[in-house]
Symmetry: C2
Subunit: 206 residues, 2 copies
């Protein structure tokens, strides 16, 4: 039987852009996506559960996983490690489910390095959209201010280069609709679909 | 001002797969897409209009356009030429509108050669889906029949290789939803979006 593998989707973008809000709204609409569960060295809190809120590991275990490249990304924050376990992601994808990871830019770039076959979505602040309009009506701003805004925009655009898609978060439901379209259309990509079909044919035509 | 260019979408697939039905259902939902208008040497019929139904040209003019590579594809059918005029497509895209072309496989492959930046969608008959299930329950069919079906499927899959997406036409509204997702997500492709933003930045930062 052909079982289509899941796809890892990584939603990222500058802090404050609204990644969490978009992800939450997306998960309310799409119950098929699996949210990636992080691993941490911090203690389990009241009401939390292993494998639901986090995978809880000792510092030694975590550092061992870092050594063995068992994390798609990790970071230390207030004395504790947090990271994305590769095995959990790969097993979920193998089972045919898409995995959705919401993460800041540095983490996303680590995932990109360790799992380039993921689909990377950059959530963009609506400010460049505004910037576009601003540039149109040039002359109403000082040259200095326009230049500063453009330089800030340039930095954001350079970060974008590692990503497959850019979604402007002008309105949450627009952004969610676009992310859903990306998820759907990625499953129609010829490379993926043809590969599946070809596997069957090779197996049966020899 | 940044004006995003339109995208040429080409919907194609084996004859009888339901291209026309999917295209019609899509256009009922999406009024933003522009349908590509063909050029022909056949006489204008009662009620038809230049630039609405077709662009009508003499045989000499048409052959001149072929010579000058002014057609994205063409074919002769019952003594008349039919083709897709490059200028019309390019002007529509420049104006910021997407162009949608529904065409058989040979024509699509010509368009691909002449306009590789188009997005090519292969509408796939649901039979391979059925085939998948059939293969699963092997033994209920003769080996010969399964092999023939697989060979037919192989030919279709080889045709797919020139395409960007494959949409299985199992149900019309599923297929339409997928095509809509492809249209939406293509507009979020980083290469397109970043290129637009970069143009502005280059112009303004020098």
């Amino acid at each position: 039987m052909i079982k289509e593998k899941g796809i890892l989707f990584v939603l990222s973008g500058p802090s404050g852009v609204g990644k969490g809000t978009v992800r939450k709204a997306l998960f309310e609409k799409d119950t098929e996506l699996k949210y990636s569960i992080s691993m941490t060295t911090r203690a389990m809190r009241e009401g939390e559960q292993e494998g639901i809120d986090y995978f809880y590991r000792s510092r030694d275990d975590f550092e061992n996983m870092i050594q063995n490249n068992k994390l798609l990304e990790y970071a230390e924050y207030v004395g504790n490690y947090y990271g994305t376990p590769r095995d959990y992601v790969e097993e979920t994808l193998e089972s045919g489910k898409d995995v959705f990871l919401e993460i800041e830019v540095q983490g996303a770039l680590q995932v990109k390095k360790n799992f380039p076959e993921g689909v990377f979505i950059f959530l963009f602040p609506p400010s460049l959209e505004e910037l576009k309009n601003r540039i149109v009506s040039r002359g109403t701003e000082t040259e200095e201010l326009v230049k500063n805004r453009l330089l800030a925009a340039k930095e954001e655009i350079d970060m974008m280069d590692a990503y497959d898609y850019v979604v402007v978060n002008d309105k949450i439901d627009h952004a969610v609709e676009k992310v859903q379209s990306i998820v759907r259309s990625e499953h129609c990509k010829r490379e993926r679909v043809a590969k599946q079909y070809k596997k069957v044919l090779e197996a049966d035509l020899g």
